[in-house]
Subunit: 220 residues, 2 copies
Amino acid sequence: MYILLRVGRGSEGDRIELETAAPGREPRQDRSRATRRRLLEAAVECLSEVGFSGATVGAVARRAGVSRGAAQHHFPTREDLLTAALLHMSENRLAELRRRAADLPDGGARTGAVVEMLIDAYTGPEFSAALQLWAAAASDPGLRSHVIPLEEHVGREAHRAAVELLGADETVPGVREAVQATLDLARGLGLASLLTDDERRRRRVVGQWTRMLHQALTTH
Amino acid sequence: MYILLRVGRGSEGDRIELETAAPGREPRQDRSRATRRRLLEAAVECLSEVGFSGATVGAVARRAGVSRGAAQHHFPTREDLLTAALLHMSENRLAELRRRAADLPDGGARTGAVVEMLIDAYTGPEFSAALQLWAAAASDPGLRSHVIPLEEHVGREAHRAAVELLGADETVPGVREAVQATLDLARGLGLASLLTDDERRRRRVVGQWTRMLHQALTTH
């Protein structure tokens, strides 16, 4: 058995925490990271399943199997928790897109594959969670001030990833806007698939868009 | 002074209602229609400003200056009221688009003007109201069963209007999907403008989209 001594300077003077850890158990920092990640994932699930009004710190903590106090240690407010969850989710999605990009074909087939990947990134429970947060922020100024910088950051990162994956040359007039339109279209298709599974329609629209985008990226 | 006699057969036997109306006052049926319209417009405002959770029958009736009982006479449930409001709003929007279409230019300039009109139809408080209802329906099966047929109906009507306004020939391969993509893009741009006014970015995307759409509609 190990004994970890953690000495901190608190508001009520120095304090010493004793922690016991059996060999093979995660060290404190890893455990803290894992707790944080569980909270973030539970927050995305909560938002998607029960909407903003049901995604309270308490409900997220329960779903993550974490005490409310521990949740509040990581995220002092509900706004902090929910925006951090969406940021975490977006970063994971973008990292996954970049990993998958290594296996993509070149040339015309690449445009289609990238468009499919981008469109898919805006459907499913994760998009639904983002939508719940956007909708709530529209009628809640306090939440809006948290969500706007998040949305701008994620929008910029998604655009950067799309340019990279498509191999688009943004110095060509119209290319930047065509890439942007792809992301706006993806958001619109995500919204359309929120309540009903309209995958067949979506695939046809995506096929046509791919042809139009490929032409815009290559004709100049 | 007029005296209107209304004889009805109620659950507790025949009943006679007496109504007095001064000359120049709206007849009963017009008044009832006006009340209904006020409720529908107040419901859209409520949804947009305070979200689904705040858009109760009572809150909508108060905003419309109508008694709760009168509101419930027109719309027995909250779901009835809110979906009727969105339907009313969409029908108004589409009728307005068709009226404005008479003044549109022909040829290339027409595509741009129609795309602008369609995109504008998916921004502002009315789109925000629709979004609140969609978001709430995503985590509420009872509401979802009301919203899905509404969304399908409005989607079909919007598509039909877009085809008509653009003068698009849907027998040409890809044209149907390009028109659909325009509406999906409009929804995505509406979502992007929900929290921040991104009109400048939107105008650039719309300009590029117009060029791409015009090519898809005319090259075959």
